[in-house]
Symmetry: C2
Subunit: 324 residues, 2 copies
């Protein structure tokens, strides 16, 4: 086992904590994910058992990579993660409530320097270093997964804001008095529509409020999810296609608002929903342009991240280490 600490062959650990699962891996400076694995997030009611599970599954990877001596540090991406304090605060999609000293817990466990930020901020760093935003100084990263996350880069730097929490675009209100979000108690947020969860809700609403035929009626309600809706839409199901049309309309309206805020060169989309391709991208683009005032029209690219999905989250989190 090597214990060399030369910078050239030093490695970084990236940990991405999502509402459902937590991905982690060991990454070199060129962005190769050498070893990676995943554990469940949501099965851990207590943060302590989560940290223990992480330790148990990460240590073997560190050993395989040549031991702790080769690791420069750990980057953690987590919902509502605070770059300044290393805490995760009131994250609606995580099982742990209140303010958690996550960076400190990880640091105490592994005895390595830890940097933490919003999971989508980490993803944005990853895109800027290795992905679709290479060379860009102004872009917005939107992650469309279980929830909707975002990372905003302006003047070549991530916007952390006054308190470290900037970039919670998933929680901005798009439809006043719209759909209720059980995690936040707010109504009409982007996340309540343009996430995998939102697509499922839209499907259930459309099925309940009409008698229209659809392949989706053959599936038990509790088994309907965004993947099933996608498969139905691809198979030509009109109702399923309408679900993506509607989702894209909401997303496009939201993107227009974001563009009028920071005027980015591109919006980088990432996550499960982007797999629906033009089913969601076409209406998104259309409604984005329709809601922009003239000065912003036909200028801003919508790009889908081309990083391998399971690697991207880890890469983003690990990018925090090289940025330390």
């Amino acid at each position: 086992m090597s214990t060399s600490t030369s910078t050239l062959d030093s490695l970084a650990i990236g940990i991405d904590i999502g509402g459902t699962g937590t991905k982690f891996g060991i990454v070199d400076r060129l962005g190769n994910v050498l070893f990676s694995s995943e554990i469940s997030t949501k099965k851990h009611i207590e943060i302590e058992t989560f940290i223990a599970d992480l330790q148990q599954n990460l240590v073997p990877l560190i050993e395989k990579a040549g031991g702790i001596g080769r690791i420069k540090g750990i980057g953690v991406g987590a919902p509502n993660g605070n770059y300044y304090t290393g805490t995760v605060e009131y994250a609606p999609n995580l099982p742990w409530k209140g303010i958690l000293p996550l960076a400190k817990l990880v640091q105490d466990e592994f005895k390595l320097p830890v940097v933490l930020t919003n999971d989508a901020n980490a993803a944005a760093l990853g895109e800027m270093m290795y992905g679709a935003a290479k060379g860009m100084k102004d872009f917005i990263m939107i992650t469309l997964g279980t929830g909707v996350g975002s990372g905003i880069v302006a003047n070549g730097k991530l916007i952390y804001g006054h308190d470290g929490f900037a970039g919670e675009l998933g929680h901005t209100t798009i439809i006043p008095d719209g759909r209720y979000h059980p995690g936040t108690g707010k109504k009409g947020s982007l996340e309540s529509y343009a996430s995998a969860t939102g697509v499922t809700t839209t499907a259930l609403e459309l099925l309940a409020n009409s008698k229209r035929e659809s392949i989706l009626r053959k599936i038990p309600k509790e088994k309907i999810d965004s993947k099933k809706v996608y498969e139905a839409a691809i198979a030509g199901d009109a109702l399923a296609q309408e679900i993506f049309e509607f989702t894209g309309k909401i997303l496009g309206m939201a993107l227009a608002n974001f563009i009028m805020f920071s005027s980015p060169e591109a919006i980088i989309l990432f996550g499960g929903l982007t797999k629906a391709g033009d089913l969601i991208l076409s209406p998104t683009k259309k409604h984005m342009e329709e809601n922009l005032i003239q000065v912003f029209q036909n200028k801003v690219k919508i790009l889908v991240s081309h990083l391998n999905e399971s690697d991207a989250a880890i890469l983003g989190a690990s990018a925090l280490v090289w940025d330390m």
Copy 2:
């Protein structure tokens, strides 16, 4: 007449072009507006007559201030002003359409270096240098005048965006399919509600759609404006108070969205509508907090600019010169 060019006593010209009028003045480094005046913007159908009018009214001030030799440069704030190109592009609230090389026109006229940006960006610089945002690194400036403008500062720098047009928050959609904006052709923008024009429209709508008693009914429709609504509200008129309540509700929802974008330390409000004081600030604050997810609640100050209104626009524009 002095022609000294020592930096210590050098002066800057600030020009603020609004939809109705254009203010300009000569400012020293400490932020004293030494001489100032104003011309109409909207009476000039042609940009050429506007520049001629500006020249005629500004030259006497330059003479009074000791001549052109003392002037370091000219800062111009204008709607849709582009910092990178010095052009004003498709400004919905100005009489001139298309793309105008405004910085060049001013430079050719006065033979001085000219820097141009969005009027609200200029106002934000002024607040950061001389006003309510002194010492802040993350804040959002919102101007509530004929229209709604904005300037966003993050990491201590104005966000210009990829193309120089960032910070058009007045044109973000707050009510999908809401009130039509004749200048942009878009529906439901913040500006169509939370501007002086928006308040007038709300008043006319409320009067037309109800038979409720109001002092405002004694005023001919075409004479109702935000000032009349303010006077009625102060006099205890319930309908007039409701107009500000409604305006504050929309503004508060919008501010919550902006906070979830860049997480500023404060939002600085400026312009005519702020004179309504708590009539508009109380509902704004209330609805802002209601629409924020927990992590942002009770953290962000709403401050009203304490700069003298006629000076502030000039100060902001002149601040561009010291920033050159």
